[in-house]
Symmetry: C2
Subunit: 235 residues, 2 copies
């Protein structure tokens, strides 16, 4: 049975790394002594080592050790044997490129669909959808494909941002970008505001966190979903 | 001799389409009766027809007729015979995908490098750099490559946006994104603020418009360039 948390962000403006999620993660990863961390998205270009250290320091607070997938000689085996998996945020193009180039993407998909508890934040959440086509990131490297893990049958837009009132900037708003996506793609897109996450248990998908999420469907007006909303039938 | 204008945006906040650039375009396209328009970036998903109509209405003000490249049976020939070329803004992933799929990208590169006057705005400016790797757009379609026209030997970031003071949003700032780009790419990136443009005449590249631009080089602090700055040696 799938057991997945798909979080918009790792860090809230007034918080420290993952702190708002820790009570949830304590339950989500109950019984787990070691977490396998995928640091490929490298926020700000941070090294795999430094990124894993940061995550390790945080999970130490709830008694879970962390090992980076780059530390294993056989990453596929590491995924197969993992008690739990966390993919951190950063650049989605880089993350997806590395998932393909290291050849682990299929195994990652398989083990999580088979029940290994998973946490994604930001870029690590983007890849939980059908494609990475609704990432906000800059295309700093060219991935072999935009197809991602399809843990949910729609796309995620993390760090969903409402139009900024009074802005004089003429770049596209997030909503405009997602509407452009829907000219060429049919799957729904869920805009997850910072502090929101999805909890996936088997086929059940529920919106959690303090804020509503914004749901975009092709050829339909976007709608707001209140926290607690059941998205199990969304596709 | 190359004769190119690379503009950050088509439209200023308090302006109408291209109005701030029209006096410049009148000189840039002097003697031209018909402009070839490439509408592939389709902002907001607008059709090729509607986009070309909008551009046509604007250029009518300076006595230039506009024909969309989609109207030609042989787009390669249309490029070869064009008196001037304009690629409009929208989604860069879509634009680049179409340039490759229609097979015109090489001809476009060739004729502009050989002297056909060119105007790019936004996505149409992004493609003037070495790659589209510093676009701000959402990856709504998967292009065959991120390599672009290399009219200038560096990358462009149009609609360059300074960090928003007091913002509580945790998504990356533009500067953070460009720094991530430089972890994996070596070419300079020029952040063009809305209202700025580059004027390329042969090998001479000059910054124009009211605002300074922000120049990012790998492993260096970003610097501000005043309008009038000569970028001919930047690479």
């Amino acid at each position: 049975m799938k057991k997945i948390i798909i979080a918009s962000t790792s860090t809230l403006y007034d918080g420290s790394y993952l702190d708002y999620l820790l009570p949830t993660l304590k339950k989500h990863f109950r019984g787990i002594t070691q977490l396998l961390f995928i640091p490929f998205a490298r926020p700000g270009g941070i090294s795999h080592y430094d990124y894993t250290k940061k995550v390790s320091d945080t999970f130490a607070q709830i008694g879970i050790a962390v090992k980076g997938i780059h530390e294993f000689e056989n990453p596929t085996e590491a995924l197969q044997q993992a008690e739990g998996i966390f993919t951190g945020g950063g650049n989605t193009f880089l993350l997806v490129t590395q998932l393909y180039k290291t050849g682990i993407i299929e195994t990652l998909e398989k083990v999580v669909k088979n029940g290994t508890p998973y946490l994604g934040t930001s870029a690590g959440s983007n890849i939980c959808g059908l494609t990475m086509g609704t990432t906000n990131d800059m295309p700093i490297v060219y991935p072999p494909s935009f197809n991602t893990l399809a843990f949910v049958p729609f796309n995620i837009n993390p760090h969903y941002l409402d139009p900024i009132e009074g802005s004089t900037h003429m770049g596209e708003t997030r909503e405009t970008r997602i509407n452009e996506f829907h000219h060429f793609n049919s799957q729904p897109v869920l805009g997850l505001r910072e502090g929101s996450w999805l909890e996936v248990k088997g086929d059940k998908i529920v919106l959690k966190g303090a804020l509503p999420a914004r749901l975009f469907k092709k050829n339909q007006e976007a709608v707001e979903l209140e926290t607690g909303a059941d998205l199990s039938d969304l596709k």
